[in-house]
Symmetry: C2
Subunit: 215 residues, 2 copies
C-alpha cells in the first residue's frame, strides 16, 4: 500500500538524519516502521533510493524558499529578512522535524542526492541573497567578490547548526543558550554583516558608487 511507502520514508528520514546513511540499517528502519525487511526492496529497489526519496521528501515538506518581501523594503531590511529566515531554519528547535537535519547532513557530506538538492533548492536562495548583497554594494565590486561576501553571511548562520557541540563547549551552556535565540542571533548577524558590507562599499564607493554621479 501507499501508507507503507510513506511510513518507510518518514521512519528512514528520522533515522538517516540521526545516524547518517552508513550507520542506519535497513532492519532498523523496518523494525521502527513495523514492516518487513523486503518492503524496502519492493517499494524503492534498494537502500540508497530510499535515502534519496527521504531527502526529496525532506525539502519538499520543509521548503525554505526565497521569500517575497514587502514592496518598498530597503536592502538592509531585505538582508535582515533573509538572515532571520535562515536562523529560523537553523535554530527552529534543538531536534525539530528531521527534515532540516537530513538536508544539512547532506550538504555537509554530499552524497548522490546532493547536487539535485543544491540545484533545486539552494541555488535560488543563494541567488536571492547575492541579489541583496549586490544592492548593498557599488556596481564596481566584481561578481566573485560579491559571492565571497554572500558566503560570509551564510557562514555565520550555518555555524550555529554545524558546530553546536563545539560552541557549547567553548562558551558554556548558559551563554550558548543566549546566543542561539532566533531573534538575538538574527539581529547580531544582520548588524555584523551590514557593517562588513558597508565597509567594502565605502572603500569601493570612493571611486564609483554614489547614486547620481558621473555615470
Amino acid at each position: 500500500m501507499d501508507a507503507t511507502r510513506q511510513k518507510l520514508i518518514e521512519t528512514a528520514g528520522q533515522l538517516f538524519s540521526r545516524d547518517g546513511f552508513e550507520s542506519t540499517t535497513v532492519r532498523e528502519i523496518c523494525q521502527h516502521a513495523g514492516t518487513n525487511v523486503a518492503s524496502i526492496h519492493y517499494h524503492f529497489g534498494d537502500k540508497e533510493r530510499l535515502y534519496i526519496e527521504a531527502v526529496k521528501h525532506a525539502h519538499c515538506h520543509q521548503p525554505p524558499s526565497p521569500q517575497p518581501w514587502a514592496e518598498g523594503a530597503t536592502p538592509p531590511q531585505k538582508l535582515a529578512a533573509i538572515i532571520h529566515q535562515m536562523m529560523t531554519v537553523m535554530l527552529d528547535a534543538e531536534t525539530p522535524s528531521w527534515h532540516t537535519e537530513l538536508m544539512m547532513r547532506e550538504l555537509a557530506r554530499p552524497t548522490s542526492a546532493c547536487e539535485a538538492l543544491v540545484r533545486e533548492f539552494i541555488d535560488p536562495l543563494f541567488a536571492q541573497l547575492l541579489c541583496v548583497v549586490t544592492e548593498l554594494l557599488p556596481p564596481s565590486v566584481p561578481l566573485v567578490e560579491r559571492q565571497g561576501l554572500a558566503f560570509s553571511v551564510v557562514a555565520q548562520c550555518l555555524l550555529y547548526r554545524y558546530h553546536r557541540p563545539i560552541g557549547r563547549l567553548l562558551v558554556g551552556e548558559n551563554h550558548f543558550q543566549q546566543l542561539t535565540t532566533i531573534e538575538e542571533s538574527a539581529r547580531r548577524i544582520t548588524e555584523f554583516s551590514l557593517g562588513g558590507l558597508q565597509s567594502v562599499a565605502t572603500r569601493e564607493g570612493a571611486v564609483a558608487s554614489k547614486p547620481g554621479e558621473s555615470s
Copy 2:
C-alpha cells in the same frame, strides 16, 4: 616492529580523514599499509584505539597554536593575523596532510576524543580571538555578545572547509578557485569582519567608546 605501527597510523589517518571512521575498513587500511589484518589487533587492540591514536598523532604534528604577534601590532593587524592563520590551516591545500581534515571531522561530529581536543587546542585559540575582538569593541559590549561576534569571525573561515563541495556547485569551479586563495580570502574576511565589528562599536560607542570623551 615500530615501523609497522607508524605505517598503520599514517595510513589509517589518511583513510579515516577521507571516509570517516565507519566507512573505513580495517582490511582497506591494512591493504594500503601492506600489513596483515591482524596487525591492527596486535599493535592497537582494535579499530577504535587505532582511530584515537591517529587523532592524537594528527594534532600532535599539526598543532594550531595561538601565535605571538609583533609587539606594537594594532588590534586590526592582530585580527588580520589570526584570520590569515586560520585560512592557512583551512586552505593549506586541497588534500594536504590528512591531519587537519581528521581534526575537522572530529570537531564536526564529536566523539569522546573531542572535548579533550577542544580544551587543549581550540580553547586557547578562541580565547585569543575573543581577546582581540574585545580590543576592537567598547567595554560596554557584554561578554556574551563579544562571544557571538567572535563566532561570526570563525564561521566565515570554517565555511571554506566544511562546505567546499557546495561552494563549488554554487559559484562554479573557476570562481571557487579565486575565492579560496589564502591571501584573498583572508583579506576579504578580515575587511568584512572589521567592518562588522566597527559597526557594533560605533553603535555602542555612542554611549561609552571613543577615547578621550566625556566620562
